[in-house]
Symmetry: C2
Subunit: 403 residues, 2 copies
């Protein structure tokens, strides 16, 4: 018998209990042994809950129970969650988590501790919710030199952008709708400012290069400046706008990683990832492009990913099931301002000559009756663009990077 | 040091050698030990080839070399390939293959032999080329009760259908183009009649249910009857036509598996899988939908998938790395004729009244100036549809199942 403890009985935590107990035949079959949840750690009580009797407030009772070999940390945060995770790993108990903040911050260290204690630190659910992405990257794309990852990693922002496109609505209005539907939190900052996406691409990037990619050094721009006018012009160019995380291995051995709204052609694989779905496009030097697509969030999909890790740990009791390479050594990131790309501008018609003169050779997008126009610059370094854009000041109403 | 033998130096075989030797840093790092190809078995000689000195015509020299722990069977066919695979497994050498015909026919048996000899029979490359699909199904979606798989599994037919849609061309003409470009074989039957797709869905279905799904019992219909007129009508209905393999776990415990052209809405995830790409959509009871997308064929993508299996075996020398469940017991398939769906008909305008009377309550699709019309029936059992269709005879020019 395999006994599991669940730390945190929130959305994901209750999903983990549900997946283990409701799909018990599948879970136990794949684990090779019958599996059950023995403890649920939470500060609260849950009178009337079917698993009420499993709830405990005492972490030590879990830590000191030799029957518990696998712990699911689905509390979130980087304080107590970090302490509990360390303690479990040091006691030889494997930890499976959906906590991307903790993985992005302490992944390399916790992996090392787990390896040293013949157990595992697993985080399939930390990126892409229920989409298998960490495991394929570590176990399936093993012969590949991964050259690039481009991904839509946040369901909330993707939902907002999809609705803005479909309904011609503005950002603030769509955010309110998303909040009313429960797709966005009351304090939406971590999502809409791109921080959540940034942590996830930091995790994928670290696994891609085998070294630690510091999420705090990744340039991150959110979606709050995107307007209905941007979408109208994108549509006229047969393009759409997505919040894209990019990680690109450059020839000089550095990694170009950034999170930014991108305008991309309708035929691009990521362009068809809509609503709350996530998509991860991986380019290998032998394989070419492969894409993983599915629900990037939600109680049961995320819980299912946590439990896939639990099953992996159950198959490896007494030894580590970690196969990834994620050293503590810091990966050197490329300077975004030195890289080249095309920019898409939105500006008032009255500034057209000035814009075209400043960025000669580009492509105009004009809409009948609109007071603004769109403009694709030629390919140029970010810092050259910025130098010109500063001179033009608020004559440029918005600028979006072109994928 | 890990030594590998490659059986068959055709397209995939030369790709396998290229991936192992050109990506040797990645491959050896992930394998945990330096890896090289020691033998290439082929009937031919390859004078001038960089790996000329590895070529042998003698299978026994491979079988009897204790240094060779992993063998790649990329010869194809179910005769010699079957004998060699058995011999290797019985000698405790793991076998990694792209040979879907052999996997579909003898998968359950070869897996059992491998397990009994503490080695592995691995076949990631047999379905979806370079797309990781077998491994995610076996190792990542473990907590799930997989309810349904819908997939585009053949690049040749998907290329033909995509071109027919984009260019309004007819089947025969597009097939010739595809043959000229090397996307279709001179004898295209295995692809265009759906047999290749059928073998692949038999493999995925067997892994999905854990029992053996006999590919010869799967209803299979190819794309040869699809015309430019079908695409014109599909377009008018905002739909497209794909060759789809479906495997659906029914509530009565049987499996409904079939391969057929399907007409599907443009927004359906599989509708955006174009050209030679493959897409596999898996529905789990906890996860909902997840899709895997990429190049379903081609030398290096397929070889990369074979080598991912080789690396997996290298990590498990002396024990099996097989985690799938695929028993020899036969899975009971549902009777397609008893299942319900909507049908799309194409017929001459002169037969409109007769068709509408025979299938009342459906939906007409009419094109200005066209001599034929399209018609969606209501949802009905296949056998009821067939009974009516027989009466109408060749007044129905084509019928396509609706996804």
């Amino acid at each position: 018998m395999i006994y599991v403890a669940v730390l945190g009985y929130g959305t994901v935590g209750s999903g983990v209990v549900e997946v283990i107990e409701n799909n018990n035949a599948e879970v136990s079959l794949k684990a090779g042994e019958e599996m059950h949840v023995k403890y649920i750690l939470d500060l609260r009580d849950f009178p009337g809950d079917p698993y009420e009797q499993l709830v405990t407030h005492d972490f030590d009772s879990i830590l000191n129970d030799p029957e518990v070999s696998i712990v699911c940390e689905v509390m979130g945060g980087v304080g107590t969650a970090y302490q509990y995770t360390r303690a479990c790993l040091e006691a030889g108990k494997s930890v499976c988590t959906s906590n991307k903040e903790l993985v992005a911050k302490h992944g390399a260290e916790l992996i090392e501790i787990a390896r040293n204690h013949n157990c595992s630190y697993m985080f399939e659910a930390s990126v892409g919710g229920g989409i298998p992405i960490i495991r394929p990257l570590n176990k399936a794309l093993t012969p590949e030199r991964i050259e690039k990852i481009s991904a839509i990693l946040n369901g909330t922002t993707n939902y907002i952008l999809t609705k803005m496109e479909q309904e011609g609505a503005d950002y603030e209005e769509t955010l309110k709708q998303a909040q009313a539907l429960g797709y966005a939190e009351r304090n939406p900052e971590a999502d809409v400012e791109g921080h959540d996406t940034c942590r996830k691409i930091a995790i994928l990037s670290s696994l891609m290069v085998g070294k630690n990619v510091d999420s705090e050094k990744i340039y991150t721009e959110g979606i709050t400046k995107i307007t209905a006018a941007d979408f109208a012009l994108a549509k006229a160019a047969d393009m759409t706008i997505k919040l894209v995380a990019t990680s690109n291995y450059l020839e000089n051995g550095t990694l170009l990683a950034y999170v930014s709204p991108m305008i991309l052609a309708k035929e691009a694989p990521l362009a068809s990832v809509n609503d709350v779905f996530n998509g991860v496009l991986i380019t290998g030097n032998m394989l070419g492009d492969v894409m993983f697509y599915g629900r990037g969030a939600g109680k049961l999909p995320t819980a299912s990913a946590v439990v896939s890790d639990v099953i992996d740990c159950a198959r490896h009791v007494g030894r580590t099931s970690i196969v990834c390479i994620w050293d503590k050594e810091e990966m050197q990131l490329a300077d975004l301002s030195e890289t080249e790309k095309v920019f898409f501008l939105r500006a008032a018609l009255s500034a057209k000559d000035e814009i075209v003169n400043a960025f000669p050779g580009g492509k105009l997008i004009e809409l009948e009756g609109a007071e603004e126009f769109g403009y694709f610059t030629t390919c140029m370094k970010e810092k050259e663009f910025d130098a010109k854009a500063i001179v033009l000041g608020d004559k440029i109403h918005n600028r979006i990077r072109v994928a």
